[in-house]
């Protein structure tokens, strides 16, 4: 992230914090909150975004001493945030039964609209609603925390295997295998949803 010459550099702020000026952390929060929120909101339920973003910043604060400046600061922050999101799903795995409840009528209709295969503009519109969120939550609710985070990063966000392995600190082979496996699971869930839709018809 580039900053004007008047604003202190990240490294200066980090030095101040490590030197005991805890309040300087607020500058980092202000500077990077859109990045952190942007990551968190794509990984956890909407009503938990603020909590997980806060946990991520807290973890960033605790780990500041270990930042070696080998990679850009924003990348280092992203790593910690993605891992916090993964931890969230590891801790909330028991709640997935709620997600697996039957889909609303609106979501079934959303599937119908998607299947009708309209123009690209309509497609964009269809992909922006509450129904799409419900279906995505339903599908991801079938996956383990590991499968979920890999599917989100590789398949939904389009990140490379190398980038994902770097973010999660896992081997590339592990990410590759999981990406393939989790995508198959997603396709199976979608297939089951479509079966349910056909039975309804």
């Amino acid at each position: 992230m580039t900053h004007s010459h008047k604003e202190p550099q990240d490294s200066e702020i980090i030095s101040r914090i490590l030197g005991g000026d805890v309040n300087a952390f607020e500058l980092l929060v202000e500077r990077y909150k859109s990045l952190i929120f942007g990551i968190v909101m794509k990984h956890v339920p909407y009503d938990r975004v603020e909590d997980v973003a806060q946990d991520s910043f807290l973890e960033i604060f605790r780990s500041l001493g270990s930042y070696a400046a080998k990679s850009p600061f924003s990348h280092w922050l992203s790593k910690i945030t993605v891992r916090c999101c993964y931890d969230f799903w590891r801790q909330h795995r028991s709640n997935h039964e709620q997600v697996l409840s039957s889909l609303s009528e609106d979501s079934q209709q959303w599937l119908d609209t998607v299947m009708a295969g309209r123009s690209r503009e309509n497609f964009e519109q269809e992909a922006s609603g509450r129904e799409a969120r419900e279906i995505l939550s339903h599908a991801l609710g079938h996956l383990s925390a590991k499968d979920r985070v890999v599917l989100t990063l590789v398949h939904l966000e389009g990140r490379s295997v190398k980038e994902t392995s770097d973010l999660l600190g896992w081997s590339q082979i592990s990410v590759k295998v999981r990406a393939h496996r989790s995508r198959s699971k997603l396709r199976k869930v979608i297939s089951d949803l479509l079966d349910g839709r056909q039975e309804r018809e």
Partner: protein, 105 residues
């Protein structure tokens, strides 16, 4: 079978589009303040004054407990308080003068 694959692909694509759509999140007004409070609690060591305050409060509770215990103990002894006071006065020469003074009134 091929048609099913196509249908799954359509839904997958729609979900990916949904996931990648640009969106922003507006945190609630006190979010940053709450975070900073947690950060300060994380690192700020307690100063000497706060530490001393903690000790005083712990001592206060111990003292209260001791007072309650002694009150129960004293009530069980069945000793007249007035007698004890008089005895205390007469044990001291100054107390004796005081007793005379009161007697002359």
């Amino acid at each position: 079978m091929k048609s099913r694959e196509k249908d799954i692909f359509k839904v997958e694509e729609a979900l990916i589009r949904f996931h990648r759509r640009p969106e922003t999140y507006e945190a609630r007004p006190f979010w940053a303040k709450k975070l900073m409070a947690r950060v300060r609690a994380e690192k700020m060591p307690l100063d000497d004054f706060s530490r001393a305050g903690g000790i005083v409060w712990r001592l206060a509770s111990v003292t209260c407990l001791l007072a309650v215990f002694l009150a129960f103990y004293a009530s069980g002894l069945n000793v007249e308080t007035q007698y004890q006071v008089v005895e205390l006065i007469f044990d001291e020469p100054s107390g004796l003068d005081l007793a005379h003074l009161f007697a002359s009134l």
